[in-house]
Symmetry: C2
Subunit: 216 residues, 2 copies
Amino acid sequence: MTPSAPRPEDDRPAPPTRRRPGGRTARIRTQVLDAVLAELGEHGYDGLTMDAVAARAGVNRATVYRRWGDVGGLLADVLDAAGEDDWQPPDTGSLVGDLAALNHEIQAALTAQPPVVTALIAASFRSERADRAQQRLWEDRYARCEIIVSRAVRRGELPSPTDARPLLIAATAPLYHQLLLLRTPPDPHLPEHAARTAALAASAGAFAEPPSVGDT
Amino acid sequence: MTPSAPRPEDDRPAPPTRRRPGGRTARIRTQVLDAVLAELGEHGYDGLTMDAVAARAGVNRATVYRRWGDVGGLLADVLDAAGEDDWQPPDTGSLVGDLAALNHEIQAALTAQPPVVTALIAASFRSERADRAQQRLWEDRYARCEIIVSRAVRRGELPSPTDARPLLIAATAPLYHQLLLLRTPPDPHLPEHAARTAALAASAGAFAEPPSVGDT
């Protein structure tokens, strides 16, 4: 789900509102997480070091070690910070429109330069802390997206009830599969096409609850 | 697409028939690639070394270095060897049956212990040679699976022509997304459900060529 991480330039982590806004702690966190994103975009996970992050952030090394522990801790906090924003899924007035707009956001995030989102996902294969944070972020994003389905049910576009999560997975999975795993060049029609395919199946009751077969 | 790599025990690389069958070169390759899979299953990419592979295979270190160069070369050859088998997609007599059986194979490969397939995919994020070999293997597997779609067209289950590749991606992507990226526990109903969803959309013309809109 996108944005799965902020990009350094235009989408930096929201200030952590649970801490004193504008306080020194929050400011250091922003500096450090921005530095992580910049280093990750330039050098990838293999080139990411605590020392380079501290230097780039202009923050004392000891502070960075004490607060984040290791590279996995830095990545986990970047991902947690990404989930602290107020992102909401697109609201275009139709199911296909919402899913297509969502897919366009995903495609943009997965093809952005520098490839920060891709680097974070790749890092989640290597750091358990980053992995758990990535799963939390995805869970949060998919949960926020469920409103796309409930709006479509309310508009009469989908049977009631429709199981939101598998529909959202069906609509978005082809993007991740092609861009992250198969690594095919971005197909400009895929966001719309994957959205239409999932919506077509959903309208035909593919995600209607309870399942049409008597599964346990 | 599965099997995306052989498992050490029960599905070892087919002898490379392009070389002298049973020859010393082929035998060494089999020993080395089996050792790679065993080491990968036990220690993952981070624990995979040329020396450990040579020792486990009982093959001279110099031979391993000369022939495979580095760990990326070993992984690439494991993936290439996996593509040299005579795997064919399931032929159950129906589109949904074929796609569901395919998805069951994918789910089994992605949840197998030791997690060799997952480790190979993770490694493809880190080694360019492994990455290219993984892409070749997937391309080969999806190409072989296109017969599932042409059989369904011939049986009248799908409109003619139907674009095979995006249909196969739609059917299989949710498995990879849930198991590899979201890392949710395996859902025993997902192979069948993802197959039904894609087949439903396909029957409704979601993958009929040419696209219903006048795209270029």
